[in-house]
């Protein structure tokens, strides 16, 4: 048996399938003469660009050694003065409703409360699968996400590639996305889901559009995106009808009109420097939910320099947005969804404690489907049948397994969330939201603690 190390992307497929665990992938011992400044990858990238003259592309999240604030926050637990709650004995609630909450109650003439809540998204746990388009990921990957979302009572997101006809039946567990390319957007599509998401930006590539090459626009994908076979699917960097917050407000209300105010509107933005002000604007735009995507969020393809250098961490963005909206007294206008590398139940708990209503996960979901983070999605040759449209590769992902693994993952997280909540003496996720006293920082400086709105451990 021979292997060509230059072609190996370290997807670990062979390692995973070998029944005797006889294979392992090792780093090639052929390395460049690197130093602290000029490291292997940096040098190679220069060679690559010198060869091609092109923009470097990469995929999945920012791999650079930037701080991961989740790992610098620790969670509280009850001891003595109040009791932890045993999730095996007591109900432990994780249900959340996302959407705007009115300022005041209203009553009818006989004094009964009127349900004046605008449309909400109901989730059995505060996690949703975030946007990944059909095209960037496979039919079977979408099928897995949709089926799992339905079984779990949560939501998955179509991404900007439209909604495949087979998946309309999962509508109540679907967020349909309206992105700058407007692929596959028409009235039935808008009405098909539980909510509509306007994608203004993405954590992995803030300020950048997207480009799915024509050769991938075939068959179902072309039909679902509603563009001719073989034509490039180009998502412009901006929405060309949104050049200001007023324009966004118009789109929000256009979509609400189109769906007769029955669907909450989510506005998804990348976490960038003045995210708090941006969020405040969106909260006043009529949007029901703001999704903030941090700079470690994944992608099927992004220019490397953008992915690695643009945007800010979700933890800081979330904390400052939550604080700003509360300071302005408009936190109840919107729900907040945090995404951009939520890796575990602990990250979810920390995000909720910082102030999120729910989290978006995508990379973790793909890992559940088999992804080994080889970060070569852009090649379209995903060995795990996820980020590919090649039939023989797609086949490798059986949605029976995929959906089951997603359900397993989410169920496991739910158990962990409940356990952590129980430890804090909290038996409902509402009581965790924004409960920053439950967090303490370690190894953070004053400024970071201030932005996160938490005390240092020991305080």
């Amino acid at each position: 048996m021979k292997s060509d190390e230059s072609k190996c992307v370290n997807c670990q497929r062979c390692v995973s399938l070998c029944p005797t665990r006889a294979l392992k992938i090792v780093k090639s011992d052929c390395i460049l003469r690197e130093n602290c400044n000029w490291q292997n990858d940096t040098i190679r990238e220069v060679y690559k660009q010198a060869n091609s003259g092109g923009v470097l592309l990469s995929s999945m999240g920012n791999p650079k050694p930037m701080p991961v604030y989740w790992d610098k926050m620790l969670i509280n637990a009850s001891q003595v003065t109040n009791p932890p709650i045993d999730p095996l004995r007591e109900p432990m609630e994780t249900k959340v409703f996302l959407g705007k909450k009115p300022e005041r109650i209203e009553r009818d003439k006989s004094g009964n409360l009127i349900n004046n809540l605008p449309a909400q998204i109901e989730l059995t746990m505060p996690v949703m699968f975030s946007a990944m388009s059909y095209g960037s990921i496979s039919y079977n990957a979408h099928a897995s996400l949709a089926r799992a979302a339905e079984e779990l009572g949560i939501i998955y997101n179509t991404g900007e590639g439209g909604l495949h006809e087979d998946f309309y039946k999962f509508g109540k567990n679907t967020i349909v996305q309206v992105a700058s390319g407007r692929f596959g957007v028409y009235e039935n599509y808008l009405n098909a889901g539980a909510a509509i998401e306007i994608k203004m930006g993405q954590g992995a590539k803030p300020g950048i559009g997207g480009h799915l090459p024509g050769e991938k626009i075939v068959g179902d994908i072309s039909r679902t995106r509603m563009i001719p076979e073989g034509s490039d699917a180009i998502s412009p960097a901006p929405h060309h009808d949104i050049y200001s917050i007023e324009d966004l407000r118009q789109l929000v209300f256009s979509l609400k009109e189109a769906t007769r105010y029955k669907k909450p509107i989510i506005v998804k933005v990348a976490a960038v420097h003045n995210i708090a002000a941006i969020a405040s604007g969106i909260a006043r735009s009529g949007a029901d939910i703001i999704a903030i995507d941090g700079f470690r969020g994944g992608t099927g393809a992004a220019p490397t320099r953008i992915r690695d250098n643009v945007g800010i961490p979700i933890e800081l963005a979330l904390a400052s947005v939550d604080k700003r909206l509360r300071d302005e007294g408009i936190r109840n206008n919107v729900s907040l969804v945090a995404g951009g590398s939520i890796r575990s139940a602990a990250d979810v708990v920390k995000a909720i404690a910082l102030g999120a209503d729910a989290c978006y996960i995508a990379t973790a979901a793909l890992l559940a489907l088999g992804c080994h983070l080889c970060r070569t999605c852009q090649s379209g040759k995903c060995n795990w049948g996820i980020a590919t449209q090649k039939p023989e590769l797609i086949k490798r992902l059986n949605p029976d397994i995929g959906s089951r693994r997603l359900v397993n993952l989410m169920t496991a997280w739910k158990h962990e969330i409940k356990e952590i909540m129980g430890g804090m003496g909290i038996n409902s996720i509402e009581a965790l939201k924004g409960n920053r006293l439950m967090l303490r920082g370690v190894g953070l400086n004053e400024k970071e603690l201030e932005i996160l709105g938490i005390s240092h451990a020991g305080e």
Binding site: N82, P91, K95, V96, L117, R331, N427, E430, A431, M438
Partner: protein, 365 residues
Amino acid sequence: MELEGKIRIPSGCAIAAVISREGNPIPGNLISEAMRPMHDRSNGLGGGFAGYGIYPAYKDFYALHIFFDSRSTRKDCEAFIKEHFEIVKAEIIPTEKNRAITDEPIIWRYFVSPLKSTLADLQLDEKEFVVRTVVKINSEMKGAYVFSSGKNMGTFKAVGYPEDIGEYYRLGEYRGYSWTAHGRYPTNTPGWWGGAHPFTLLDYSVVHNGEISSYDANRRFIEMFGYKCTLQTDTEVITYIMDYLLRRQRLSLEEAANVVAAPFWSTIEKNRNIPERDKLIYLRTMFSSLLITGPFSIVLGFEGGLMALNDRLKLRSLVVGEKDDRVFMASEEAAIRTMEPNAENIWAPAGGEPVIVTLGEGVEN
């Protein structure tokens, strides 16, 4: 060590309350004595009482009870109050020296009424203006602390054991149709008079036993509506929540109870009464950040009644008993038996189920 407000201090506690449904006067020493058998539930670092109907002569005026750390603070504060209020009476709250009570501040009460001109200027209703004034004094005026601000009611609190505090404030000289009491067991405090309970805002007073785990979620939400949780205590935030739900959102007591101690979703879903179920879903969704989790038993005092409420898991003790026109509530039955040895119908209310007692119809308060 830092005072309340600088740091959040958890504590265990004893609570007790009594009300006459017919509005008959009850002397304050009754409730003070009730705290004696629950001595061990406190540790001498705080206690207090709230009495309703105790100032019939001044029932149309807000009774501000204020601690001052010095004469000059009092002067400044009085000047501030005079700017916006008519003060019909100002006096030192009578006390009796007690060995167990030391380090006392200067304690005054003022019967006041907001100036109509000020209210008109600010376009505020009277109560809201009083609330803002109290919040302003407490958060901005160092050394002054308003610890009672309702009409025809008053709070009396100090550092010490509750039964000593009752004697110190000479509670036997007051008559009220209802009383609540609190004995505190803070785990980490030098003891500060202002930090003692009951906590009150306008005529709402709360005595609370427990340590709520939802504190910061509740605090950060309620602070959006102009409240400032200066003490960082559960009792304070519960009081504000009650004020927000009852006075500002105009929810009924039952509805407010369904917000703070909301039934579990599983219980709600099983409710066959559809309008009732929808109402519960609505309240939980609408006010999700006001759900209070963690152990608590509280007695909320208000003009004309009392409401006792346990957390939905009933993680703290709370018993209720009756005799004739009186209803008794306490952490322990012993406290009820002290107030009324022949108390009847003693029961422990289920978690999340409020016990609401109001003055009977036609009874003046």
